[in-house]
């Protein structure tokens, strides 16, 4: 039996920071054969990306070092290669696609030039003919490639850019293709398309695929083998089907169990409506010319109506750019909008900022990014008590501290840590603090703007449980904004599907999930739950 294409043995990676050395990858071993697909799975900080980057020796040396191990690619140790042979290997033998399609392409060069460059680099100028570039772009399924050659990256969507990146990676028919979370930054529908494309290409070209992801659903879809990483070590490895059906390590079990579960509260059309929005519009004027005449509008939100009832959740789903977040901000009157919004039957539209202020107590929001939504300069106690001070609750300092402690305890944060600063907390805990900040005011209505999107899978499930628990105890009305349909299913009793600012479809959650009426909703669900790309053209590329 010949040696495997890629064999990683006892690989360790350490980073030096000041006087300290942190080992981020600890004696990792795996092999990958030609034509096989291996998925490295783990949560953020588990060292999976660093492992992948050390295979092509892309880490910031000398800050990074390898205390032990070897990476054998076609029998040669990559870690001992000279710079020249490394360059020869990268881009030809091994290629890599990164997570962020927005920054992976040079914004100053056309697509043709960027794809042509990589061909020329390894195959000579003659090989990089226009036909070859078109052939590659066709291969990765870019629609109408001939007319796209002169396009710059900003003229393409995220999915199209990722296709171009893949075309560049495939240009020299690599033996090993490393994909580092290539779909994480993309919408579910696009993600399904890219995954289908990668699987298809891998089978056709017979290359080895190393796929790095935190999403177990993707692993099941794309990889024959899986290696689960935790804190820099591979804790379990094997055939994907076997590992998934019969996980041995507790961490794998936890990951597999981490999908948001549970039933949303039953729909109750007779519950008291907390918030009613009718025909909400947010139009941004497009101005043109010297006199800045308004020549049209960007319709971020265009005539959306919904009712959120006590103890119920309305889920707003849609791809990025569909106006979900804008709708949430408009309903809280944090941005200007037209249409009527009523809170407990009281119209909000005519209210001034001052008149709005007492109502803020009842209407709260939790943002997506727990890193950006907490001021780094304030301690957790100061962050949570801020609303109590602003709302002129007649509490003295000691009572406020007690209220803060209670809100933190309610959301599962140890009240003893209330004098610490946000950076001392993990992402999940930070999100709990952000929820505590909203809950401290004892609101009746909360807008949850993708509260789980920035979190690891296992933490997502915990946050979903927490939110549902809070809702049950306090009869809260939620407006839950998310692109993640699994999370929405676990929380919402009513769904609004948005696209390009308008409502595509809405109705009770169980009906909608069981039998989506519109083509778009169907494609969205297929992509989210089965990671299948719809053949039809209802979704954009």
């Amino acid at each position: 039996m010949s040696a495997p294409l890629l064999s990683v043995r006892d690989l360790s990676v350490a980073f030096r920071q000041g006087d300290e050395t942190h080992v981020v990858v600890d004696r990792v071993s795996f092999t990958l054969e030609r034509g096989q697909a291996l998925a490295l799975v783990g949560e953020s900080g588990s060292g999976k990306s660093v492992t992948a980057q050390s295979i092509v020796k892309l880490l910031p040396y000398p800050a990074a070092s390898h205390p032990s191990g070897e990476v054998l690619f076609k029998g040669r140790d990559v870690l001992k290669m000279t710079d020249a042979s490394l360059r020869e290997m990268r881009g030809a033998g091994v290629t890599m696609v990164f997570q962020e399609p927005m920054t992976s392409l040079n914004p100053l060069h056309t697509i043709e030039r960027q794809v042509g460059e990589i061909i020329a680099l390894h195959g000579g100028r003659a090989a990089s003919s226009r036909d070859r570039v078109i052939a590659l772009l066709t291969e990765v399924g870019l629609a109408d490639p001939a007319s796209r050659l002169g396009a710059y990256p900003h003229q393409l969507s995220g999915g199209q850019r990722q296709r171009v990146m893949i075309a560049m990676a495939l240009a020299n028919r690599p033996d090993l293709f490393i994909a580092d979370e290539p779909t994480t930054a993309l919408d579910v529908t696009i993600q399904a398309q890219i995954l289908a494309l990668l699987k298809d290409l891998q089978a056709k070209l017979g290359m080895a695929l190393l796929f790095i992801t935190h999403d177990l659903g993707i692993v099941r879809k794309i990889a024959g083998d899986v290696a689960v990483m935790q804190k820099g070590r591979i804790v379990e490895a094997g055939k994907t089907a076997e590992v998934f059906d019969n996980p041995q390590h507790p961490y794998t079990k936890m990951l597999l169990a981490a999908e948001p579960k549970g039933e949303a509260p039953a729909r109750d059309a007779t519950a008291k409506p907390i918030l009613e929005a009718k025909d909400v519009r947010v139009w941004f004027p497009i101005r043109h010319g010297f006199m800045r005449r308004t020549i049209g509008h960007v319709k971020a939100v265009d005539g959306v109506s919904l009712t959120v009832r006590e103890g119920q959740t309305v889920g707003v789903v849609g791809e990025s750019g569909s106006g979900k977040t804008t709708l949430g901000l408009a309903i809280l009157r944090l941005i200007r909008s037209q249409g009527t919004i009523a809170y407990c039957g009281r119209g909000l539209s005519g209210l001034t900022v001052k008149q709005m202020r007492p109502l803020r107590r009842d209407m709260q929001i939790v943002f997506q990014d727990p890193y950006g939504s907490l001021s780094p300069r304030l301690s957790v106690a100061e962050i949570v008590e801020e609303g109590l001070i602003a709302q002129k609750t007649r509490l003295n300092a000691a009572e406020r501290r007690e209220a803060v402690a209670k809100a933190l305890a309610d959301t599962g944060v140890d009240p003893a840590s209330m004098d610490r600063y946000p950076h001392e907390f993990s992402g999940g805990q930070r999100q709990r603090v952000a929820i505590a900040r909203a809950m401290a005011l004892d609101p009746k209505f909360v807008v949850l703007d993708e509260p789980t999107s920035a979190l690891d899978m296992s933490v997502q499930a915990q946050i979903v449980d927490l939110l549902r628990d809070l809702q049950k105890r306090r009869a809260l009305a939620y407006l839950f904004i998310s692109h993640d349909l699994k999370v929405v299913r676990a929380l919402a009793s009513e769904i609004v599907v948005m696209r390009h600012g308008a409502v595509v479809e809405s109705g009770p959650a169980h009906e909608l999930f069981a039998a989506p009426k519109s083509e778009y909703t169907r494609a969205l669900f297929a992509a989210a739950f089965a990671m299948e790309a719809e053949a039809s053209d209802v979704v954009s590329q």
């Binding site: 944090l334 202020r357 107590r361 929001i365 943002f367 939504s373 609303g387 209330m418």
Partner: protein, 385 residues
């Protein structure tokens, strides 16, 4: 049951971890730290200039009565004279007091405006250590005013002369005393000007950046027009109309210097006003003023604090150059710029220009070193690694 942990009382200085790291970064910069301590020492000494260089004794005892001439104006008739204000340097008065008690003098027995009596040479007279023995002897004789007992045996030498470390200027004022008083007035002027103009600049930038829109646009245009006025000419015209003094100069310079920080603060506010935690604060119902002060301003403070030492420096040099041009403080003020000007007009007296230059250079360098250290300490790349 209480859930909240007891609140720690952190004393008067409660630093967030980020600020503590900045302080550590600052301390690690040896040059900046030393400059800071040296500057602080010089500044504190110069704040008490009256106790370091003065033409009145600190404490005197006269006929059993304890007097504090540095703090209290005693009429001369108390000591047998007839003027309203006692000249303790007058040999007659000094002899009278010494005969009936004692005097403790500050280290330098001149204030900035004290005119030296009986100089060894015509003004500007050189430092005592540059005088020839003959000049010294002549000065001692002149000082004795015919009183043979006052002349030491053998005619005396330069050691018996009252020491003048850096000589006198063209008006007979002691240069060391002038430097001490001049340092104080320059630094105070710089601090006040920088402080007030930063406060105005930050407020203007904050309002523009936070509210944006038409307000921002209008103020931007006004500031552009305002800052393109020729400052120096306006200064010259105004100082012809108004009598220049500390406050008048401060006000005139303030008219133009507040613009410096506006752009910086405005840009920081434009960036920070859309931060999620600012939005969260809005959703909590905080008033705009509170959001600005508590959430947005701290972001702008980093940039501002980084700039502040350099603004202090430029304020000091503006004052110095105005004094040098003769447009600054009124004649007789202990300004460093005027001393430079005297040095220029009396090239034969190099101790004037050289000492003024040395003090200005030292002061500005120390401030720049401190400023550099502050800037590095606030550098986010250092803070977050």
């Amino acid at each position: 049951m209480t859930l909240a942990p007891p609140q720690h009382t952190h004393g008067w200085l409660r630093l967030s971890p980020m600020n503590r790291r900045r302080l550590d970064n600052f301390r690690r910069n040896r040059r900046g730290l030393w400059s800071f301590w040296i500057f602080l020492a010089l500044f504190v000494v110069s704040l008490g200039a009256e106790f370091v260089a003065n033409d009145r004794p600190l404490i005197a005892s006269y006929k059993g009565e304890l007097l504090f001439p540095v703090l209290v104006d005693y009429p001369e008739e108390k000591f047998g004279g007839f003027e309203a204000r006692t000249d303790y340097r007058d040999p007659t008065i000094a002899g009278e007091i010494e005969a009936h008690g004692w005097m403790i003098w500050p280290p330098i027995r001149f204030a900035n405006s004290t005119t030296k009596l009986d100089p060894p040479t015509p003004f500007p007279s050189p430092p005592t250590w540059l005088l020839s023995e003959k000049q010294c002897r002549a000065a001692i004789v002149a000082h004795a005013r015919g009183d043979a007992k006052a002349i030491p045996p053998g005619g005396g030498s330069c050691r018996d002369l009252e020491p003048e470390w850096l000589g006198t200027d063209a008006d007979g004022h002691d240069v060391v005393a002038r430097l001490i008083y001049g340092f104080r007035i320059s630094v105070l002027f710089g601090f006040i000007l920088a402080g007030v103009s930063s406060a105005i600049g930050i407020a203007a930038g904050a309002v523009q950046g936070y509210f944006g829109g038409w307000l921002d646009l209008t103020m931007q245009r006004l500031i552009e027009v305002w800052s393109s006025l020729p400052h120096l000419y306006i200064l010259i015209i105004l100082s012809a109309i108004l009598t220049p003094g500390f406050l008048v100069l401060l006000t005139i310079l303030l008219l133009f210097s507040w613009v410096n920080l506006v752009y910086l603060v405005r840009a920081e506010f434009l960036r920070a006003r859309n931060f999620e935690y600012v939005n969260a604060a809005r959703a909590l119902g905080l008033s705009n003023a509170k959001i600005i002060v508590k959430h947005v301003l701290p972001n702008a403070m980093v940039a501002t604090l980084t700039f502040l030492p350099f603004i202090v420096n430029s304020s000091i040099s503006t004052l110095t150059s105005l004094d040098f041009l003769g447009l600054g403080m009124p004649p007789g003020s202990p300004s460093l710029g005027e001393l430079l000007l005297e040095g220029k007009s009396n090239l034969s007296a190099p101790w004037l220009g050289l000492s003024a230059f040395a003090v200005i250079a030292l002061m500005l360098s120390l401030l720049i070193f401190v400023g550099e250290a502050v800037r590095d300490a606030f550098d986010p790349r250092k803070t977050f690694t």
